[in-house]
């Protein structure tokens, strides 16, 4: 039997948008932002992505970092902490749909996250950052790396969606995301530091919980439409 995927290559794979975990059908609010003419071009996209990084990016980075230390006994608590940080039902559904997709892939790649946790312990529809943290752990990665992937995906997923919706120059979109690289690093580092310092499960209240009423609003407006292209 070949060794399970591990190390930096596994990190890159987890952050790769070609990973068949279902992320490509989610726009992270961009479709509704485009419809409302909030995002129309490269500069407005960059501004939107930055704002998303400061809320969703921080929260998912913190949860992914915390999930690296997950045990069967603490799954329910971290799941509740994720729910409590996601007031919008549409965003909760999007997170769980992507979690389920990533879980299917993780099951096929690794026997389990670690000895004290089986994939089945996460339930059928876990939040995406929780699966991400567990997959990072399975690949021998740490909280900082899990947070980095989460923060990166909070930016790159919507960036790709915007490119498809607006027909933007791919170079311009790539530059917008590369331009946010230092911010992604900083968000991931800070979120991971808090998550690592927290003693689970009660200490998880300190995991970042930055919310954004704009993203909640966009998510719910989007969910109410019948003619949408993306699932979120």
């Amino acid at each position: 039997m070949t060794a399970p995927p591990a190390g930096v290559a596994a990190l890159l794979a987890l952050a790769d948008q070609r990973l068949p975990s279902g992320g490509h059908v989610h726009s992270g609010g961009v479709e509704e932002a485009v419809r409302g003419r909030l995002v129309t071009d490269g500069p407005s996209l960059r501004a939107f992505l930055h704002r998303r990084l400061l809320s969703v990016g921080r929260v998912t980075a913190g949860l992914a970092a915390a999930a690296v230390g997950l045990t069967a006994a603490t799954v329910a608590r971290l799941d509740a902490e994720a729910d409590a940080r996601t007031p919008s039902p549409a965003q909760r559904a999007a997170s769980r749909a992507q979690g389920r997709g990533l879980l299917r892939l993780a099951r096929a790649s690794w026997v389990g996250p670690h000895v004290d946790l089986a994939w089945a312990d996460l339930g059928a529809r876990p939040h995406h950052p929780l699966v991400l943290g567990c997959a990072a752990r399975a690949a021998g990665l740490g909280a900082g790396e899990a947070a980095l992937v989460a923060a990166y995906l909070a930016v790159t997923g919507p960036a790709t969606a915007a490119q498809r919706l607006l027909g933007l120059d791919p170079v311009e979109v790539a530059v917008a995301t590369l331009d946010l690289g230092a911010d992604v690093d900083a968000v991931a580092r800070a979120a991971a530091a808090v998550a690592v310092a927290a003693t689970p499960p009660s200490g998880w209240h300190a995991v970042p919980d930055d919310g954004d009423p704009l993203l909640d609003l966009l998510a719910e407006r989007h969910a109410a439409r019948g003619d949408r292209l993306f699932a979120s």
């Binding site: 930055h50 509740a80 409590a84 007031p87 970042p208 009423p213």
Partner: protein
């Protein structure tokens, strides 16, 4: 300056509401204005940067407390490096009700304010909380604000949310959009809060929370519009309309 308000609402065996504790010092006073109603009264300007305000509210089993304010709170800049903090801690026991609807907090240009609201409810406790923040006075840029709202019911996390002036000011403005200078959050928890579907009205959204209860959030260029959209989505609640004992 440190200011501290302590209110403990209880109920006697015959149903008479009592305030087992009602005290305030520093820049705030409290006045009992009804059987279970208390008004906050600012007695000094501020908070200024570095000031600490603590409101400690306890509603014992079966009791009710309505906390209101008489005037907006104006957070002003001050010397030193620390932000002002405005911290509300509330403990709501079983079959108890807290309605907490103080007047808005205005964060003036140059002021730095952290607001923190930590709510702990027993499984059958009820809450109707309204928080209103305005960034800047008329024709004035806003100060720096971060507000955290944390709620646990029966030991289960229900809401963890931090909003910041930085996030509100970030991002694309959109066509004709004015800066989000006013934010209204309304949190309703408890067994009597009806099930609701997510909905939006203008820049307001009502979100049914995973663990029960609803959160309404609205933002806008002015407070009146934000409040109107919240009212559209959730007309003043059954909890607030309960007959007083």
């Amino acid at each position: 300056m440190r200011s501290r308000v302590e209110v403990v609402a209880d109920v006697e065996d015959d149903g008479t509401p009592v305030l087992a504790r009602l005290r305030a010092d520093g820049a705030l006073a409290v006045r009992r204005t009804g059987p279970s109603t208390v008004h906050l009264v600012g007695t000094a300007a501020g908070p200024l940067d570095g000031d600490v305000v603590e409101l400690d509210l306890v509603v014992r089993a079966g009791a009710r407390l309505d906390l209101e304010g008489v005037a907006a709170t104006i957070a002003l800049p001050g010397p030193g490096d620390l932000a002002a903090t405005w911290e509300v801690t509330a403990d709501v026991a079983d079959v108890a009700t807290l309605r907490c609807a103080p007047q808005p907090i205005v964060v003036c240009a140059g002021a730095r304010l952290r607001t923190r609201t930590a709510l702990t409810l027993a499984p059958t406790g009820s809450l109707d909380l309204v928080e209103q923040v305005v960034l800047g006075r008329f024709r004035e840029p806003g100060g720096t604000w971060s507000g955290r709202l944390v709620a646990d019911v029966g030991g289960v996390p229900v809401l963890r949310q931090t909003q910041t002036s930085a996030v509100l000011a970030a991002g694309p403005a959109g066509p004709g959009a004015a800066a989000a200078r006013s934010v209204v959050s309304r949190l309703l928890l408890g067994p009597d809060v009806p099930a609701a579907a997510a909905a939006t009205s203008g820049e307001a959204v009502v979100c049914p929370l995973a663990a029960g209860g609803v959160l309404l959030t609205a933002y806008g260029a002015d407070l009146a519009t934000a409040l109107r959209h919240v009212e559209d989505l959730w007309p003043t609640t059954p909890v607030a309309a309960l007959p007083r004992p």
